[in-house]
Amino acid sequence: MDTSLTAECIVIGAGPAGLNAAAQIAARGHSCIIVEANMSGGHLVMTTAITDYPGIEAVSGYKLSSILLKQAQSKNVTVMTGDKVVTLVQDHQSRYIITLESGTDLYAQCVVLATGLRSVKTGLTEESNFSGKGVSYCAECDGFFFKDKPVVVYGSGDGFAEAVDLLVSTCKPVYHISPSGGCSTKDSVSTFEGWRITALEGDGKLSALRLESQDRKQKRKIEAEGLFVYMGKEPTDELLKPFLEEASDTRMSSQPYSDLARTGLFITGHLAGTETLVETCANGVSTARQVSEYLNRKVKVSLE
């Protein structure tokens, strides 16, 4: 496929911030395309129960994502999922050009970056080889496969404490290794605070892992059939970085996001620092207002 599409605004990332922003931009009368590398909803899809969303008693992230998607589509937002943004550049006419993995080029007067967060990987070369063969990212989903077997929880990111609680009831022994500290205080858990895993071993399935202390003076090998990775999340900011670097070279420094917005590049959601779902959705809506004002100003200037 080798095509091009044009809209007044392109939203990159179809999580809760992106979907809300796109719906509200379209509701304000602007043409809008939302593009997403995976499926719509982002990390929200993985949330099993949301109990603090205003006006809703309880809902799964899966259901809420589906509602947000339908709301955006009902406002005539063009939704393109499963297609990754490869490059984002601004041409000499201040127009943004987005190239997708499929070969499609998108043109827009402004862009909203809502790429959110992604899970941090271990950085071990063997991680993908043992994925599904001992390496897991969800104790709730996969803990029962390791009943009475030795397992390791790695990291102190979101959900690690719940993972430890769950695993100590089914697996033994349970180790907690955390390079950044914050180890479990449970008596039944053997902890390695400040240690990191250096290698995974096993013949087809994970059977052991090697680790070393922060000062690299101590090394250990422990038998483990399961490794549950909870290394936390990091911003998906590859598309933003070049613009920020350029901004830091010029006048932009104290409020880089505001300055970027003046050039038609808006940042929203977790990438802009929101934490809760409600904050993230609200941020998407307020970004939509800024986008609309930006586009209306552009029209006014062109008419003058």
């Binding site: 499926m39 993985m46 989903c141």
Partner: protein, 117 residues
């Protein structure tokens, strides 16, 4: 029963009939957990693009799930969900654990010919 918008397979008879009588079948066998939900969501988005494939889900904890759980191809799996692709009743491909929309569509394209849009 899983709380998704996909077609659910609930009995062994229903699952056996679907696999034996339908050319292209994808069954995602899991729970309502964080690693399963994205796969169901991807399948929902892909349903319209692959009308020639039956995209279905199955609760991992019902008796009928033995059809998937006991497959030799899934014997070593240790991540939910177990996703199995059947071509004319034969296992064409299997995956375990979370999969992206791109990973799912790649297998659908490889095993069941390219999407129709």
């Amino acid at each position: 029963m899983l709380d998704t918008n996909l077609k659910h397979l609930e009995t062994k008879e229903e699952a056996d009939a679907l696999v034996s009588e339908t050319e292209n079948v994808m069954i995602c066998c899991g729970r309502m957990g964080p690693m399963c939900l994205p796969v169901y969501a991807a399948m929902e988005e892909l349903e319209k693009e692959y009308p020639h494939v039956e995209l279905t889900d199955m609760d991992f904890d019902i008796p009928a799930a033995s059809l998937i759980r006991n497959l030799p191809e899934c014997a070593s799996f240790m991540n939910l969900p177990f996703t199995v692709y059947f071509k004319n009743g034969i296992v064409a491909d299997v995956t375990s654990g979370i999969q992206s929309k791109g990973q799912v569509s790649k297998i659908l394209d490889n095993e069941f010919s390219v999407r129709t849009y």
